[in-house]
């Protein structure tokens, strides 16, 4: 965090807005200043030209030219105009270039009053044009307006003289300077306002983000995303239009969504289940609703987000009911084992009391017989187990089932010739519990109404596969039921059941194994489960 440049939001906004403002304002200032100065110059030019023209048209001037009036008479007139227009110097010359009228601002130095040259008056004199130009020496530049004095003699007109009017550039420059400083002042004010505004903006953003800096927010966001992706529960969030804003990996797995890009897609285009979409888009919340989705049962929770009475989106979470069911089954299986062992312990306690009774009564022979009988029974069981079945996981499962069988008075035997080395590590306990537990329990259920209930268990791991065989002498399956028993929801035990064999099948497949059922009515049923010892690879299977 520290090696990267972490600037606070304040600095960032101030810097950006400040730079931008400075750029824009200086550009505008330069442009306005330029235009303003151009306009000032244009105004001054216009004023010089118009003053010169006005003087040339003035009856007094025209009369002076007609009658040859003296300089003195014109002096007052020109002085008055000069005063009014703010010009520094006015001259009226006749055709020969002789000055016949002049007026001068006394405050202006002599060297700044420039008499127009013959060249500068040429156009006015020859062509009767009026024009304006800049002239004068360094520091004493003047704007000179020139207009011809055209006298109308009735039949014809004639250019008799020229009026020139000077405006010192210094005055114009000063005007431009004062204009520009006003603009700069205004620009500075706007800049300060902008800075203050961005300061407030930064503050307001900080308030909205709970005082967090943007990088902190992004860190939080990433963390939230990681949390969301790591939970086992599927989570989907949509906005008010049904567009997906969040979907974690678990949701994708659970809802079996293969496409990569789901964010910003509409939920209608992503989910295939109309029912689920309706549930998610409904304005009411859903709690633990079970829905069939593809071949799974999922538990859906939805929670609409309401803001100011309007729905702004929905968050939905999913869990796989099948998985939960499996867990519950495994748990109850384990609980069953402990129950069974307790029952057996109870039985043994009963037998111990019987032996104690025989001994106290002095009936030693009976006591010995009872002990020998029990010992034989145990020996037979343990021999079978411990000599032939070496895998502890299977031993544990079978021991539990023996207890249950003896309690239910079912004859549960491990067939001769069974043998099982310790199972490879890649076969864990829980699938074994599900497979063997369910199959043996089913067998117990199948024989519970028989006169001499018998269930036998056979296992062998000769060859590449481990083969389990569970046989019962019950009534067998109904005709055609072989195909249905593995489907979810098929059960002869009542409603909300029928997960057993479906789970068994799933677990067998998850171990790349196979399951077969062989049933003859009235004679019983045999389930055969084949699980390969080695982790399957496609080419190996093809080769073997």
């Amino acid at each position: 965090m520290k090696n990267r440049l972490q600037v606070s939001l304040h600095i960032k906004i101030l810097g950006l807005v400040g730079t931008l403002l400075l750029l824009v304002i200086s550009l505008i200032t330069v442009m306005v200043g330029y235009m303003e100065s151009r306009e000032d110059v244009a105004n001054a030019e216009n004023l010089a030209l118009q003053t010169a023209k006005t003087i040339s048209y003035m009856p007094g001037v025209q009369d002076a030219f007609r009658s040859g009036a003296t300089l003195e008479e014109l002096k007052q007139l020109t002085e008055q105009i000069r005063e009014e227009a703010g010009a520094s110097f006015i001259t009226i010359v006749d055709r020969s270039g002789g000055v016949i009228g002049t007026a001068k601002d006394e405050t202006v130095a002599i060297e700044e009053t420039v008499t127009a040259s013959e060249k500068e008056l040429y156009q006015a004199m020859v062509f009767g044009s009026s024009y304006v130009f800049e002239t004068g020496s360094e520091g004493g530049e003047v704007l000179k307006g020139v207009a011809p004095v055209t006298i109308d003699y009735g039949d014809y007109k004639k250019v008799e003289g020229v009026v020139t009017v000077d405006f010192p550039m210094k005055v114009i420059h000063n005007e431009i300077l004062s204009d520009i400083s006003k603009i700069i002042l205004a620009a500075g004010l706007v800049f300060l306002l902008g800075i203050a505004g961005s300061f407030l903006l930064a503050k307001s953003i900080r308030k909205d983000t709970l005082g967090l800096e943007p990088f902190e927010i992004s860190a939080l966001y990433r963390e939230r995303e990681a949390v969301l992706q790591s939970v086992k529960e599927g989570i989907v969030a949509i906005d008010h239009q049904g567009v997906i804003t969040t979907m974690n990996v678990a949701a994708k797995d659970l809802l079996d969504i293969r496409r990569e890009e789901v964010i910003e897609k509409n939920i209608i285009d992503v989910l295939p289940s109309r029912e689920l979409i309706n549930r998610i888009q409904s304005p009411n919340k859903t709690i633990n609703k079970e829905l069939e989705y593809k071949d799974k049962i999922i538990i859906v929770n939805t929670r609409p987000l309401i803001e100011n009475g309007r729905k702004t989106g929905t968050v939905a979470s999913f869990r796989d009911k099948t998985e939960i069911k499996k867990m519950v089954d495994a748990l109850s299986e384990v609980r069953q084992y402990s129950e069974d062992l307790r029952a057996q312990a109870h039985e043994f306690t009963g037998k111990l009391y019987a032996i104690l009774g025989f001994i106290q009564l002095g009936k030693r022979q009976e006591a010995i017989e009872l002990i020998q009988k029990e010992a034989n029974l145990q020996k037979q069981v343990s021999e079978m187990f411990f000599s032939q079945i070496h895998d502890e996981k299977v031993q544990a499962i079978l021991l539990g089932k023996f207890a249950k069988a003896s309690e239910k008075k079912i004859s549960f035997k491990v067939e001769e010739g069974s043998s099982l080395a310790p199972l490879p590590d890649h076969i864990p306990l829980s699938p074994l519990i599900v497979i063997l537990g369910n199959l043996i329990n089913n067998a117990f259920d199948a024989v519970k109404d028989c006169d001499s209930p018998e269930v036998s268990f056979f296992v062998t791991d000769l060859g590449n596969d481990i083969i389990f065989e569970i046989a019962d002498n019950g009534n067998g399956l109904d005709k055609g039921a072989e195909y249905q028993i593995f489907h979810r929801g098929y059960s002869r035990k009542g409603n909300n059941r029928g997960y057993g064999l479906a789970n068994v099948k799933e677990e067998v497949y998850s171990q790349n194994g196979a399951i077969e059922v062989n049933s003859s009515p009235g004679k019983g049923t045999v389930f055969t489960v084949i699980i390969p010892k080695q982790i399957q690879e496609n080419n190996k299977r093809a080769g073997g």
């Binding site: 055709r95 013959e118 009767g128 044009s129 003699y153 039949d155 014809y156 250019v159």
Partner: protein, 327 residues
């Protein structure tokens, strides 16, 4: 962001398509509608005459299939008409003359000749310096000498305003002779006719005007033309010397031409080059020239462009100070 870029792309595609189709239809068979011939003056003047002559010959000789309409836009020494032309498409043309140059040079107009498309120079008149039949000045040289001696004593009539070709031709002649044009004593009359009247009435000592204004009077002996601004002696008055004959190195055409609005295409210019070249060779056009005392002065678009540039430089020199005051 993506959407924004999409919209931007779509819009630029639409614009480009529109621009392309606009261009395509623009080039499609010029001319494809009525042609407007702008005369920047009232009916009856020289420009109006030029415009109507063009219209008549081009139409009657069936050189142009589209209708040609003459439009009069008088005012501002041609400026109103030319400003109007500037806003039109290539189906409008306007008649012009040296005023298109001098208006700008004398700061009377913002329009510059460079803003238009030169089409052709068609004809010219020549300028004449005339004096009364009983004038003491027998030749142009004598006249100039006397003027140089005492500029104020020689009153020269000109009209209708300073800065026109009548005025400028004498300004040039005088400056070539070494007289400061600022010293010339010009009296400005309302028009060409008034100038001649003033001359005949003895109010002025000389006039500078178009040859056509004084040619007939000269032949009739009522006044005397001292010099013409042509390069060769003029038909019917072969006795009158040119300025060059008088030792003043000057040929001063008072030309008339045609120009189009800005940015005409090569094809459009080529169209008029071929049509006008054909036109000036017709007998009808030759008759027009003869009737108006005009002389053939045809230059195509390219030549006109160079001619205008050359004339502009000349006028610029005349208008500024005739090159006399450089010091």
């Amino acid at each position: 962001m993506k959407k924004f870029i999409k919209v931007l792309l779509t819009m630029s595609v639409i614009f480009i398509t529109a621009a392309c189709s606009g261009n395509a239809s623009g080039n499609d068979g010029y001319p494809n509608k009525n042609i407007e011939m702008v005369a920047p003056a009232s009916p009856g003047g020289g420009w109006d005459l030029t415009a109507r002559s063009l219209e008549k010959v081009l139409t009657e000789q069936e050189l142009v299939d589209e209708n040609i309409n003459v439009v009069n836009k008088p005012g501002g020494g041609g400026e109103v008409g030319w400003k109007y032309l500037k806003s039109k498409d290539s189906h409008s043309l306007a008649v012009n003359s040296s005023l298109v140059l001098t208006n700008n040079l004398l700061e009377q107009s913002e329009l510059s000749y460079e803003e238009f498309t030169p089409i052709a120079t068609l004809a010219t008149e020549w300028q004449a310096l005339a004096v009364p039949a009983d004038s003491p000045y027998k030749t142009a040289s004598e006249f100039l000498e006397a003027t140089k001696e005492d500029p104020n004593s020689v009153k020269i009539g000109v009209g209708p305003g300073l800065g026109n070709d009548d005025h400028l031709s004498l300004v040039q002649a005088a400056s070539e002779f070494g007289i400061n044009p600022a010293d010339l004593n010009f009296l400005v009359y309302e028009g060409g006719g008034d100038v001649v009247t003033a001359l005949l009435g003895g109010h002025v000592d000389a006039v500078t005007t178009s040859l056509s204004e004084v040619k007939d009077q000269h032949i009739a002996g009522k006044l005397k033309i001292l010099a013409v601004s042509s390069d060769e002696p003029v038909e019917d008055i072969e006795d009158v010397p040119t300025w060059q004959d008088e030792g003043v190195d000057m040929v001063f055409p008072h030309w008339r031409g045609v120009m189009g609005p800005p940015d005409m295409t090569e094809d459009e210019i080529a169209y008029w080059d071929s049509k006008l070249e054909e036109m000036i060779q017709t007998d009808q056009w030759q008759q027009v020239l003869e009737n108006n005392d005009w002389e053939d002065f045809y230059k195509n678009s390219k030549e006109t462009k160079a001619f205008l540039q050359e004339q502009h430089d000349l006028y610029q020199r005349l208008v500024n100070d005739s090159g006399l005051l450089d010091n």
